[in-house]
Every structure is written in structure tokens, then in C-alpha cells.
Chain length 381, copies 4
Amino acid sequence: MRKLRMGMIGGGIGSFIGDVHRKAATLDGMIELVCGAFSSTAEKSKASGKELLLPEDRCYGSFEEMILKEKELPENMRIDFVTIVTPNHMHFAPAKLALENGFHVVCDKPMTLTVDEARELEKLVKSTGLLFALTHNYPGSPMVKQAKAMVDNSELGPIRKVQVQYLQGWMATAVEDSGNKQASWRVDPSKSGVGGALGDIGTHAHNLVEYITGLQIKELAADLGRLGKGRVLDDDGNILLRLENGAKGTMSLSQIAVGEENNLSIRVYGEKGSLEWHQEKPNELTTRWLDRPKIIFTPNGNSLSPISLAASRIPAGHPEGYLEAFANVYKNFATHLNALMTKTEIETPDYPTVSDGVRGVQFIHAAVESDKHNAAWVGLD
Amino acid sequence: MRKLRMGMIGGGIGSFIGDVHRKAATLDGMIELVCGAFSSTAEKSKASGKELLLPEDRCYGSFEEMILKEKELPENMRIDFVTIVTPNHMHFAPAKLALENGFHVVCDKPMTLTVDEARELEKLVKSTGLLFALTHNYPGSPMVKQAKAMVDNSELGPIRKVQVQYLQGWMATAVEDSGNKQASWRVDPSKSGVGGALGDIGTHAHNLVEYITGLQIKELAADLGRLGKGRVLDDDGNILLRLENGAKGTMSLSQIAVGEENNLSIRVYGEKGSLEWHQEKPNELTTRWLDRPKIIFTPNGNSLSPISLAASRIPAGHPEGYLEAFANVYKNFATHLNALMTKTEIETPDYPTVSDGVRGVQFIHAAVESDKHNAAWVGLD
Amino acid sequence: MRKLRMGMIGGGIGSFIGDVHRKAATLDGMIELVCGAFSSTAEKSKASGKELLLPEDRCYGSFEEMILKEKELPENMRIDFVTIVTPNHMHFAPAKLALENGFHVVCDKPMTLTVDEARELEKLVKSTGLLFALTHNYPGSPMVKQAKAMVDNSELGPIRKVQVQYLQGWMATAVEDSGNKQASWRVDPSKSGVGGALGDIGTHAHNLVEYITGLQIKELAADLGRLGKGRVLDDDGNILLRLENGAKGTMSLSQIAVGEENNLSIRVYGEKGSLEWHQEKPNELTTRWLDRPKIIFTPNGNSLSPISLAASRIPAGHPEGYLEAFANVYKNFATHLNALMTKTEIETPDYPTVSDGVRGVQFIHAAVESDKHNAAWVGLD
Amino acid sequence: MRKLRMGMIGGGIGSFIGDVHRKAATLDGMIELVCGAFSSTAEKSKASGKELLLPEDRCYGSFEEMILKEKELPENMRIDFVTIVTPNHMHFAPAKLALENGFHVVCDKPMTLTVDEARELEKLVKSTGLLFALTHNYPGSPMVKQAKAMVDNSELGPIRKVQVQYLQGWMATAVEDSGNKQASWRVDPSKSGVGGALGDIGTHAHNLVEYITGLQIKELAADLGRLGKGRVLDDDGNILLRLENGAKGTMSLSQIAVGEENNLSIRVYGEKGSLEWHQEKPNELTTRWLDRPKIIFTPNGNSLSPISLAASRIPAGHPEGYLEAFANVYKNFATHLNALMTKTEIETPDYPTVSDGVRGVQFIHAAVESDKHNAAWVGLD
């Protein structure tokens, strides 16, 4: 075994998410960053690469240059996969080019701007046999995996109701007007796509519902808000959900919920039991039951399912957080890629795929469509 | 001053809510129970009265008998007001008769089965000048009053978003088939009205939103569930809200949310700050701010508004609960009634009125109407 | 059955604890307040009685007058028991006189100033056959009763470790110098006795340990603080505990712990399981286990012991608090007294007795003695 | 700048703490692992090195071999520092040898078995001018740094009282008899030293008190337990504390507290304010005040001190945990070492030093001595 070689697209120094991806990818010692097209100019890209202690000739001025030049490198040097951490509008092209040139892909969410693009990537993945991981990090949390396992094992019974919310407050004021780069591209439809909060946080909420319940959201009715002055994209949303098995629910999204930091929370109610998880206190999974008292699970604690245990690195009571969950996506992707490269048979590791990416883009478009029609029901397909 | 004399309609021994009303009404020593029409027969009513240590001749076989006979008693004996704690379909008639015969009224929610009945009571209250309190108990909580005061004082800025949920699990199975009387009338439209969970818990959620924000819900879109086998009334609901000032929100209701006990929770987001309150942990009000850390208020703690301080009986750190909040409705009603009887000028005490009752019935009907039309928007007026 | 007639000693209008006792005693409709010696002068006592709507001739100028005059009243009028809610130095004399004149007694803690007085009351109770309840209210909480039941049923296994703390901050500054009556008698040894915080809150912590574990504290080593300027009595304490079965623990007390409201908390560790309870969030009992996840019990929730269920008045999820727990002491005392008066055989109800009172006074004196000798070990007997 | 080169002593594959150190050291991209003496034999050491993808010739059979051979390597290859992650008895010798051969040292706690050894290392550090970091990880937490800053800034006023506890349950049964290696060396005095839980977790609690308050514990009175069958070292302890400024407190330690995972918690009370932090929920710092409501700080949230902000990597609401705090010790050490190597003037970064190591060993010995004399007071110096 050797470390997998990763090339990063986007994520120049100063970018929040670039740093997160670098730390998450390398945490388990299975992956090393060997090159990057970190910024829109060769000069900036090299400056970032220098801080990252990369050789100058592996710092590229564009993703095209990186992909094509890396392809020319000897097999024992060139990257195994690219990781795409650019704003939304810059996901599709590099992902497509990487797949077309034989590189596996890790890509940030939302996967693409349009459903057509998403479907095109899905087809490419299928036809090339390459791996594709979408970095929804929350399913990487040990307690989310425990939640999923309990639903899968029918411990909760058939699911009847879901409540999910993803509330942030950092865009409550016009931060995009005062030089906040994170905010400025997010409010720009040419970079963010048709959804604002929908794409940025709504896709996480959508994915979490489908991941834990194993059920697809069949239709939704969305009432969106554009509360920041001059904003054309949603920064708030209230959505009714109907799942494929008849279960119903609500989704509440906001980036203008003053004082909320990163409050992604979910409750799932079955016929026999229910569960509750809060991202900001990720090391607890609360479960409730028809005829038993409330039971709280903790990572690496008693009575966990194997997929939850596998997702924890350290003993119970030693809190793991955002980064560790994020790293689990890379770890499971790397495990899969290693198995593929060494032709080892393994059970497919658990990480979000290109199909989850398609679902996410469908979700954004359905919600925008519904909102245009005064929260009429719109299907996701 | 003397104790106010109360006659109870409904609430025979064994009734949960009758006992709650008796304890709440008498907690502050301002009210005494002097008579009752506790049950549907004189015999049962007398049996309940005996346990309550009431004289036999003040235990009546019907509300009509009670109201008419009490009216004949000397002024220094007869009741000052009736309290109506029967199932929903038995609110209107006794309330009307009491008002018509000069008695003040305390009445459980939802106030009536129809909006017309509700409006009729509202007119009667206006024309008679009698007092009418509706027992929404949650506005009686010191932390809810603090929440209201902070919104009233513009500390949160204009309200932008509301999330409210009222989740219970006690009807997750077919409890109405196994002799649970609380359940059996609630699933019966002839007793409960057009709303099931809507009337039982939804009206509390609705009232809490309007009480804290000081804003009316202008329209809603409701997707209701009837999940218990054979149930014709809703036992679950997911509702989009639009408030009169343009704020939006979600309401999630359930009586089949397995394992939930009495989870009424609310979050209100303004432009400058936000707040969060959970009925099951009523002695905390969490507030969040643009530029300050999270601040937690506690009853009788530091920095509270006068209406919150007035609603606590004991020093900070000594938890008050459901009953104490409930008693605040009676206490404020009694204070008002005393002032009226003694012709004392006071600021009108803070308790839910007949107009809140009208709003609640409108809410139920709007939600049922919306649900019939696949969650179309329906106005509340 | 009839309501039991109670006469109150102390607790004039304005007194925090007098009001608590009145509400707690009458909450369940088993007891009525019929007379009182509320204050040190007949005039003040009558003023208090007037506000309480008592007849003037039942408002006495001293406890002696009350006890002796009530004794002369016809049996169907006179009090059944006295409740003593005065500062500490005024417990012994009225309790003694009441017992000597055939009245049952409810008495606040700490029971007396000296161990000799405590033992004298214990003997009197034994020789007269009268009932004596000590108002430690915390054992009245449904979750504390659940804790006790779980230890009694050996669910936790033999107890190995105890941690208890009772932390308040209201005396962090010199409140006794600015007219706070609650504070001024507490810092005065002639009224409070040899212990300050020890008597006021330490006895609650001591009682809670012995109640839940069923084990006596055998010896202790106390390091007390007198941090308020000029205070001669302890307002803070750190204590090592050894229990009769060899278990050990710590007790931390404070009335100068800035910002703490009424933080009484306990943790008990056995060989197989452990439990944790916080007075400020009384409606949860957290339990931890060798081989199961954390389990949280709630009042009237699933899987409770009978003594816990009996201590709740309302359905799960409707929070009960300080007052309700306090009322359970009166309710159980009243149930016992009713059984005694009607010569009914019942299992002795669960409330703190004169013997718990003796233990509490022993605890205070042992801690003071230990502190005098630089935290040397001192036995409690 | 280049990555600092680290050689690890101990921490073979399978070791919990070795893996933690590797992840923590490399998280921020400032350090790389280049060699190791991972196990007691060359063969095992090479096996671990292979899994870690290290070249075989940098996997040594002993710490002596590693230190001496690395010294011979060219400057641009050889290690900059060693990190010692062996059981307690194997800290002193490698630390001494490393310092004597010019290598900086990172060392696990407790630093040495005896106070003399600890003092010898302290002298060596002073005389060589080399850097020495002790891996108390909890001071690396952003909220602990906030706590320290608030005390340093006199926001709490003079400290009056401290409560600290470190409770685990994993040794509640005789795990050392069933092949648990973590347990077996910890119960063996030849490897663990005179303290069991004292050294393993007590030193963390001790360090946390002194770090946050800036005050030394002057004397203590310890009542230790050896509850596991056949254990000669303490697995439980209850300790009274006296701080240098007259403040007092309690420390409660346990590794037999059934069901506790890693419950390190601290409360510090000053004259004006107090604070509370729980390691298992590290992303909250609760503060309480004389005249303000409770205020909760969060990492990267509003109103933080610079040293707290510097210790967070990701935006507020994205939980950081054990590993991130641990990595802060390495990061600050690496920052210091970089400055030293590049002769840059910087403010000395905040990490535990050799002097903290001396204090920790003194603490263990004082507690053992006190316990031998029935919890008599013993000084720490």
C-alpha cells in the first residue's frame, strides 16, 4: 500500500473549505496532497502551493492544465484523483474533464448547477468505472451512521415523520457588501446556481434525510425567502416534504437566522421509535421509544452498530467533530479506491456518490420551481 | 378582598385536566372551588364533589342546572365565575349560558367547534362586559413572558422567521381502542370538532407564535396526517406559516411522534436577535445575537422584564413548571376580576381572551381547509 | 375524610418559605391552613392572617399562645398539626410544645440547633406516638424517588462513590448588610446555629445522599470557608465523605458561588451502574451502565418504579418543579396522618422524619468540628 | 519554512495514544513523522513503521538507537525533535537522552516517575535551551483558553473556589485481567509509578486548575480508593484543595465511575463571575455573573479573547474536539520551534512545559503521601 495522490482544484490559502479538505483528506494517513490548481491564476496558485510546501512545478494555473499535465507524468508520480473545492459553477467542468482523463473524483456539493450536468456526470462515472465521492460530510459522523443503521435494522419501524432544519445566521446582515468572499459568490447566481441557501445548506439537509431514512423525498412544497437587501437567491426557506413511503415532514433552512452558528438538526419518527441528532453536539444520538425510556448513544460507546463503530477513531468520551466526520468521507473513498487499485474484494464503503449528487441538484431545482408557484407541490425526478 | 368563587363544568374525578384546573385555580389562594357540574349525571357529579369535599347541594347534574341555580343563590354565596373543562363540543353552550346569566367565564381551548360560535361568544363578552379567559397555559410561563417582552421592546428587531413544533407520542398506537378516555373523545369529530391534533395541541402552538411575536398568522398551508388506523381526524401535521408582517415559518404538530412527551418548542428570529424556548425545560430562555454570545435567561434571574418577574413565585433556581404557568392564567384573571368587582383601576392583566379563542378556531378551520386542497394557502380570517 | 387542619408558626407575609409551605401544604386539597402565629407580635401576625383571609381570632401572637389556645378549641375546629417555618433557633421550642400538647408536627430543617435538642425531639416523638415530618423537599421529587428505588432494587450494585454539591451564589456579596432578611438571620449564629451554609443547604445535600443510597455517612473531613467579610459562619465548604459501607465521596457547598442559583446535584456510582440528578432540571434522571448506553428517565415516563410514579401529578412532559416536590412531603405526611386518625393500615408513606432531623444536626456539628481541626476526620454519631 | 521532522518513541500500531499523537502532530501540516522507535523490538518497530509508510532504516529497535543514529544523519534529514508516547516509566530516560543529544522533546504526562527525575529534566531544559512540551491536551481547547483569558483579565475577580472532576468508568471491572493492555500497565506500579488514576487523569485535572486559574495548588488532602480487586494503585480519589491565594476546592477522580466515558469538568468561582467547562461538550464555555444572565461562549463565536480565537480552525458551529485540542499543543510547540530555528522574535506560544511536568509529578506524590496519612494535608513543593 502507498498513500493515494490527490490534486486539488480550488482551495487556495485563505479558503475555509480548502483547508478543511486538506486536513480531512490527510487525517488518516491514506492520502497526500501532491499538486493543485488552487486559484484562477498561475501566480496565486503557486503562492498557495508554496505555503503548502508543494513543489512549484505541481502548482498549476488552471484545472485543465493540471489534469492534462498530470496525465503525462509517470504513473508512480501522477495523481490518483482530483478533489474539487471550487464554488458551485466550477464543479462540472473539472469533474467532467477529470473523469474523461481517467482520474477519480472527489467533488464538493452541490455537484453541478443543472440537473442535466448532474446526469451527465452520473453517466460518465458509470461508463468509465471511475470512483466519485461527493463531500456531504455529515453522513460521516458516527452518530449519523448509528441512526442510519437503526433505521436499516427496522428498530424504529416504518418511518412516519421527519423534521430537519439547517439554520445559520452569518448572512443575517449584508456581509457580501463588506468583502466577505464566502458570501459574495454565494449570492451570485452565476456562481451559486439557482439556489442560494438551498444549494449551500439545503442539499446537506436533503441528503441527511435520505441517508438516514433510506427513503427518497418524492415531492416538496417550498416557500423561500430572500431577506437580505438586494438578494436574488434564497437565504431562507420553509419546505413541506413527502417521502416515497408516504411519510411527511418539514425542512427549515436559513442563513439569516441571527445567532445560529451551524445548526443542522434532524428528528425521524417511526412507528416504534424515533431519533434525534444535532450537528453542533454530534457526539450524542437521542432515541425515544414506545415502551422504554430515552436512550442516548455516544461514539464508541455501548451497543453500537458496526458502521458507527468503524467511524470513530478514539475512545468514547473523547469528542470528535466536524473534521473527523469529513475525514470519514475521504477515508471511505480512499479505502474503496485502494481496493479497486489492488483488485481486492471488499464491501463497498459508505460514502456519498454521484447519484447523491444528482438527487441534491434535483432538490434545489424542485424547491425553486415550487417557490415560483407559491409553494405548489413539485416532484423530485 | 375575599376569595373568588368558582364553579366547575366538567372535570370529574379521574379527569387529568379537571385536576390541573383545580390546582392551578387555587394555587395562589385567590380562588376557591364552591360548586360543580362535574359529570354528565347528577350521581357521578355528586361522587366527584364528595371527593372534593364539596357540599352535596352544590354538586349539579348539568351545567344548565348549575348556572341557573347558582344565579338564585344569595350574592355572598353564589359563584363569581364558571370554569369550563369539558371536551371541545361542550364549551360553547355553557360559556354562552354563563355569559347570558351574568357569570364571568374561564374556558378551555379550543374555544368552540365553529368560527361562528367563537364569534358569537366574542360578541357576548363585548356586550355583557363580563370577563373571559381562555386557558392557554404556556403564555403563563415566566420565560415565555420574557420572550414576549423582548420582542415588544424591539430587542430582536423586526421578526423574520418562526419555527414552532408541538410533538407528542401518546397516540402513536391505537390507544383509543383500549379504553383511553382522553384519546377516545379526541378522535371523535362530534366531540373534538374538525381538528384532532390541530385543536388539541395546534391551537397552543398557534397561540404561542402570536403571543410572543405580537403578530398574526395571516395564511397557512397545511399537510395533515391521519396515521392512526381508522382515524378521521388529523393526528399529525406539517404547516407553512406566513405572518402579517411578511415573516414566514413552519409549524410541526404530532400526537404520533413516538417517545415525545410534550415537546412544545419555539424559535423566533428577528433582524438583531433570536430566541428559543422549550416547554419541557421551561426555566431557560436562550437568546442569540448578531454580535454578542448566547445569553440564557432564567426565572427570577438577572436582567428580566417586569412581566416575567411578576410571573415567578419563587427564587431563581427553584424550578417552576406546568402547573405554575397554568396558575398564572387564573391568577391574572382573578386579579382582573377583583379589580372589576372593586372598581379598581389597574393595567389589564396579561391572560388569553375570547379574541384569542376566535383566532384559535380560525386556525383549526384554515388548516383543515388547506389540507383538503393539497396544502393550498388559506387565510385566517 | 376531611381536610386536615394546619396551624403555621412563622411564615408571615413576605417570607419566601412561608408562602412555599402554604402552597405546598394545600396543593393536593388534603390540608387547609386554619390558624397561625406568623410573626413575633400579635399585630403583625394578624396582618399576615388578614391577607391570608384567616379569621382574626385564629391569628396568634406567639406559638405558645397558638398551641395552648388551639388545644382548648372543640375537636372539630382545632388544628391537627403545626408546621414550623421559623428560622433555625425557633424550631425546637415550638416543636417540643406542640408534641407535649398532642399536636403532630411538620418542621423545617435543620431541625434544631444542637444534637441534644434533636435527640430530645426524637424521644418525644417516640413516646407520644405523634407524627413528625421534616421538610427536606428534594426527596419529594419523582426522579429522586426513582433514584432511590433503583439503588434499593440493587440495579446499581453496591455503591462505591458519591458526589454531591449544593451551590448558590446569592450571598456572594454582603447582602446581609443591605437589608436582606433571608441573609441576615442566616449569618447570625444565635439564629442559625453553629452552621451557616452547612445548615441551610448542607443538610439538604447530606439528606439526599443518605436518602438515595440508603447508607449513612459515617465520617467526614470538612474544610469550610467564611468568605463574606465579617462572617463568622461558613458560607462555603469542601468535604470528604466516607459512607458506612466503605464508599467515599465529596460534598461541595457554597452560598458564594457567583451566578449559581440553586444547583443541588448528585452523582452516585455503584458497581454495575450509576445515576445523576440535578435539582435545577429535576425532570430527568440520567443513568449509566457497564454494558448499556445512557438511559434517561422522566417523571411519569416509561419503566419507572411505583414510588416514582406515585410522586407525579401530571402526564409525562409536563414539568413539575420545586413546589410539587415540596407538596409531596406534605401529601405523604397527610396520607399517614389520615391513616392514623382513621386507624387504617397502610404502608408507611415516604417522607423525612425526626430521625432524619437528628442526622442532619449531627452532620452540621461534625463538619464544624472537623473544620476546627484542619479538616480532621470526625464521625457522625 | 519546512515541515519539522519528528521521531516517535513508543506508539506502535494498535496503541491508542500513538495514533492520536501522529494525527495531532501532523494535522496542521507543520510536522512530519520521519522515524520511530515504536516498540520494544526492532522487528515490531519495523512492522509499525511499514504500516506508517516509513522507510525501514528509520524504524529503530530502541530509543537509544534512534537518538544516536539520527544524530549522525545529515542536518537536512535528521529529526528536529522526539515525541515520547510510552508508558510512564519510559518517559525520563528517552527525554534525558534526547536533550543531552540536542533534540527538542515532546513528552506525554505524567512526565516522570519521581520528583527528582522531573527536576533533572527541568534543569536540562534550562541548561540546553532546548524546547520541551508536555502533552496536556485540554489546555489546547479554545474554550479552556477563553476561560484562562477571562481569569487573566480579572473578569471573574479573585478566585475563591474550584471544583474539578475527572471521571471514567472503563476500569470499573478487572479489565486488566482480560488482556486490556491500556489497563495492565496502568495498574502496575513499576510502569505507572506511585499513582494510578492520579497519574493518568489526576495530572490532567491538576494541570487544568493551575492553567485556568493561574494559581498553584499549595496543599491537598487526598482520600484515595483502590476498588478494583487486587489493585495496589489508586483507581479513585477524593481530594480537598487549597490554592496559593487562599481559594479552596475539591477534586474528584475515578476510573471506576461506571458509565462515565471521559468526564473532565471544571468550575471556577471568582468574586464577580464564574465559569464552567465540560470536556465532553468542549464547544461551550458557560459563565455566570453577579448581575448579568448566564452567557455561553462558543469557539470562533462572538466576544472571544485572541488566544481562544487562535485555537480554533473552523467557523463557529463546526465542532472541534479532542484531536483538534491535542493538535494545538503540537502547533504551538512547532510555532515556537520554527521561531527558534529561524531566530524570529515571537511571543512565546502557549503550551505546557517541563515546569508543568514537575508540578504534575509533585501533585501525584503529594496525593499519595496524604492518603497514606489518612488524608492529612500535604504541600506541593
